[in-house]
C-alpha cells in the first residue's frame, strides 16, 4: 500500500470530485432524516432511478462521441406504449423483440441523420423529440395503454420481480452498466468513441470511420431507451403517452453531473451511474426532508450546479476560474 502523500490526496480529490460531492449529500440528507439510509429506502431510490439510469448509459456514449440526444424522453414513451399495446396483441414473447426493433429503427434514423448527413445533433434530436411524441400519439390514438390481464402475465418480472433479494430493474441497470462500461473502457470501439469526440479530425487521420462510430452510438442509445421502456412498461403495466416527457433533461443532467463533457471526448459509465444516483437521492432526500415542493425545483438545480462546480474546481485545483 503506497503512503498517502499530500500530492496523491490532491490527485484523488481532483479525480473523484463528484464522488466526494455524492458522499457529502448523502451525509447531509442522513443528518436531516435518519430514515434516509434505511435499506428499503436506498433500494427504492436505486430501483426508481434504474429507468433514468439505463437511459443515461446510452446518452453517455452519444455525449462522449461529441453529440447530444434530446430525443430519449419521447423515445422512451414510444417504446413503453408500443410494448404495452403489442403485449395484448402478440403476447409478451413477441412484443418485446418487436418493440426493440422499432426503437432501434428510430435510433438508426437519428444515427444516419447525424452521422451520414452530418446534421447538427441538437437540431436533429430536438426535432425527433417532437416527431416521436407525435408518432406515439398517432400510434395510440391518445389513449392510455393498459395491459388487460395484469395478474396473469410474466411480463411484470422486469419491473417488479426480484432475484437474490434485489429488484430486477436494479440488476438490469447494473448489469447493463457493467457491460457498457467494459465496452467503453476496454474495447477498440470504446476507444474510437473517445477519439471521435475528443478530436474528430485526428480520428479521421487515424483511419477511424467517424460516421460509423456516431451511428453506432445512437444505436446503443436507442437500445438503452428500449430497455428503459421495457422496465417502465413492466413496472406499471400501463402508461400515459407522456410518460417519458422531460426525462431527456434529467438524463442529460445526470450525464453532465457524472463529469462527461458536452464537447465530447470525456466521461465514463461509472461516473454517469454516480450522477444518476445523485439525482435520485436528491429527489428522494428532499421528499423525506419534507421541503415545500415549489422550493424543490430550485434546490434540485442549486445542488446540481454546486456538484458540477465542486467537480470542476477539484479538477482545476482552484475555486474561481474566470473565462479569460
Amino acid at each position: 500500500m503506497p503512503a498517502i502523500t499530500k500530492a496523491s490526496l490532491g490527485r484523488f480529490i481532483a479525480r473523484q470530485g463528484i464522488l466526494i460531492a455524492f458522499v457529502l449529500f448523502m451525509v447531509g440528507f442522513t443528518l436531516a432524516n435518519e430514515r434516509f439510509l434505511a435499506p428499503e429506502n436506498i433500494m427504492g431510490v436505486v430501483r426508481s432511478s434504474a429507468i433514468l439510469g439505463v437511459m443515461a448509459l446510452g446518452v453517455t456514449f452519444v455525449v462522449i462521441s461529441g453529440n447530444l440526444d434530446l430525443s430519449v424522453g419521447s423515445m422512451m414513451s414510444f417504446s413503453t406504449i408500443v410494448v404495452l399495446d403489442l403485449h395484448d396483441k402478440l403476447g409478451p414473447g413477441l412484443a418485446i423483440p418487436a418493440m426493440f426493433a422499432m426503437t432501434l429503427c428510430l435510433g438508426a434514423l437519428i444515427g444516419f441523420l447525424v452521422g451520414y448527413l452530418k446534421l447538427n445533433s441538437l437540431i436533429v434530436t430536438l426535432g425527433m423529440l417532437s416527431a416521436i411524441h407525435g408518432l406515439t400519439l398517432t400510434y395510440s390514438g391518445g389513449k392510455n395503454m393498459d395491459i388487460a390481464d395484469k395478474e396473469g402475465t410474466w411480463f411484470s418480472i422486469f419491473g417488479q420481480g426480484e432475484a437474490l433479494g434485489i429488484p430486477v430493474p436494479i440488476l438490469i441497470f447494473l448489469g447493463l452498466a457493467a457491460f457498457l462500461g467494459i465496452v467503453l473502457a476496454k474495447t477498440p470501439f470504446g476507444r474510437k468513441i473517445y477519439a471521435v469526440g475528443g478530436n474528430g479530425v485526428a480520428a479521421t487521420f487515424s483511419g477511424i470511420r467517424r460516421a460509423r462510430v456516431v451511428f453506432s452510438c445512437y444505436l446503443v442509445s436507442s437500445f438503452c431507451v428500449a430497455t428503459a421502456g421495457l422496465l417502465q412498461a413492466s413496472r406499471s403495466l400501463g402508461s400515459q403517452n407522456t410518460v417519458g416527457q422531460g426525462l431527456e433533461l434529467e438524463v442529460l443532467a445526470a450525464v453532465i453531473l457524472g463529469g462527461a463533457s458536452l464537447l465530447g471526448g470525456s466521461g465514463t459509465v461509472f461516473k454517469t451511474v454516480i450522477g444518476v444516483l445523485i439525482l435520485g437521492f436528491i429527489q428522494n432526500g428532499l421528499l423525506l426532508v419534507g421541503l415545500q415542493f415549489y422550493a424543490q425545483y430550485v434546490v434540485t438545480w442549486v445542488i446540481i450546479i454546486l456538484a458540477v462546480w465542486l467537480d470542476i474546481a477539484a479538477k482545476r485545483g482552484k475555486l474561481l476560474s474566470p473565462i479569460a
Binding site: R35, L137, G142, N144, S236, V243, L287, F293
Partner: protein
C-alpha cells in the same frame, strides 16, 4: 384511392351545403386544448362531434390547438373571421387567451369556456363557463374518505397523505383546496401528514408514495388529485406490502375503476368527457337561443365508491 378521396370530399361538401341550408342553423366554433394528449380529450372531441352531428340546427367547426397558446389565439381569430355564431374554448392557458376572448366579445360573438376556466380578468368577456367544479370534486373526495374512516371507526386518529396534480395548474390547485378545506369540517381529528405533487403522472406519484411509506409508519388514507396518480400510489403500497390504506382519487379512470373492482381502491369522482362535451354544446345553444344561462354552469360529477360503482359504466380512458 383518388376516386375514393374524391367521393368522400364530395359527400362532405354535400353535407356542408345541406347543413348551411337548413333554417335557423347555428355555426358554432370550438378550439380545444390538446386532443390526443390523453383519452379524456380524445373522447371529449368524439362526443362533441357526435352531439353536434345529431343536432340538425348545429354546424360545428372543430379545431384543436395542440396545447399551443399561439395556435389557439390564431384559431380564435379565424373563427371570428368566419363569423361563427358562438365560440367554445378549452383554454390552453387561462391568462394568455384573454385578449383573443376579448376580441371575440367585441366582435359580438358569445364565448363559452369549457372544462377549465380562464383567469378572472377574462370573465367580463365570457358568457358562460361549462365544466366540472373542481372545488366540489375535492370536497367530495374528502367526504368519501371521511365517511369510510367513520365506517371503519378510525375517524379520530386517521392520518392522510395527499398527492396533488401538477403545481400551478388550476385544476390541481382547486381540487387540493376543496379537499383541504372540507376534510377538517367533516373529520376534524384526521391529520394530513404531507402534501407533495405527483404531476398527473403515475410513475412520479409512485415515487412520491414510496418516500411517504419510508417516512411514515402509519398512513390510513391517500388522496390523489386523479386516479392515474392514485393508482401509482396504490402500486407503491402494494410493492411495499402495506395493506389497509384507503385510496381516494378524482376523475375516475379505467385503471381506478378496475382497482375498485378488485377491492384495492376505495373511491373517486366520476367525471365523464361525454357529459363535459354535451354540456358545453348545450350551454352554447342555450346562450344562442336567448335562455338565461348561469355564468358558472357546472355539470354534475358524482361520487363513486366500491359500494355504488355498479351504477356507472367503466370509463373509456
Amino acid at each position: 384511392m383518388t376516386r375514393f378521396t374524391l367521393a368522400a370530399t364530395t359527400a362532405v361538401a354535400a353535407f356542408a351545403i345541406a347543413g348551411a341550408a337548413s333554417a335557423g342553423s347555428y355555426k358554432i366554433g370550438i378550439t380545444q386544448n390538446n386532443v390526443g394528449v390523453d383519452s379524456y380529450q380524445t373522447t371529449y372531441e368524439k362526443a362533441f362531434i357526435a352531439a353536434s352531428d345529431a343536432n340538425a340546427d348545429v354546424e360545428a367547426v372543430v379545431l384543436d390547438a395542440g396545447g399551443d397558446v399561439a395556435r389557439q389565439i390564431a384559431q380564435m381569430e379565424d373563427l371570428i373571421q368566419q363569423e361563427v355564431d358562438a365560440i367554445i374554448i378549452w383554454p390552453t392557458n387561462g391568462e394568455a387567451v384573454i385578449p383573443a376572448v376579448r376580441k371575440a366579445h367585441k366582435a359580438g360573438i358569445p364565448v363559452i369556456v369549457t372544462n377549465s376556466n380562464i383567469a378572472e380578468a377574462g370573465f367580463p368577456f365570457v358568457k358562460s363557463f361549462s365544466g366540472p367544479d373542481n372545488i366540489t370534486q375535492g370536497s367530495r373526495s374528502a367526504e368519501i374518505m371521511c365517511d369510510k374512516f367513520k365506517a371503519m371507526g378510525i375517524e379520530n386518529e386517521a392520518k392522510v397523505a395527499h398527492i396533488t396534480g401538477q403545481p400551478g395548474y388550476t385544476t390541481a390547485i382547486e381540487r387540493a383546496k376543496g379537499f383541504e378545506d372540507r376534510l377538517p369540517e367533516v373529520c376534524p381529528n384526521v391529520t394530513v401528514l404531507d402534501t407533495q405533487p405527483g404531476d398527473w403522472n403515475r410513475e412520479k406519484s409512485q415515487k412520491v408514495m414510496e418516500a411517504f411509506l419510508v417516512k411514515y409508519d402509519d398512513i390510513d388514507g391517500v388522496y390523489a388529485g386523479d386516479d392515474n396518480m392514485g393508482v401509482g400510489a396504490l402500486n407503491a403500497a402494494k410493492a411495499a406490502g402495506r395493506e389497509g390504506i384507503i385510496f381516494v382519487g378524482a376523475t375516475n379512470f379505467a385503471v381506478g375503476y378496475e382497482a375498485m373492482e378488485r377491492g384495492e381502491y376505495w373511491g373517486s369522482i366520476y367525471q365523464s368527457p361525454v357529459d363535459d362535451a354535451e354540456a358545453a354544446l348545450k350551454t352554447a345553444l342555450d346562450v344562442l337561443s336567448g335562455k338565461d344561462v348561469p355564468f358558472l354552469n357546472y355539470f354534475d360529477t358524482p361520487k363513486i365508491t366500491q359500494d355504488n360503482q355498479g351504477d356507472f359504466t367503466k370509463p373509456v380512458f
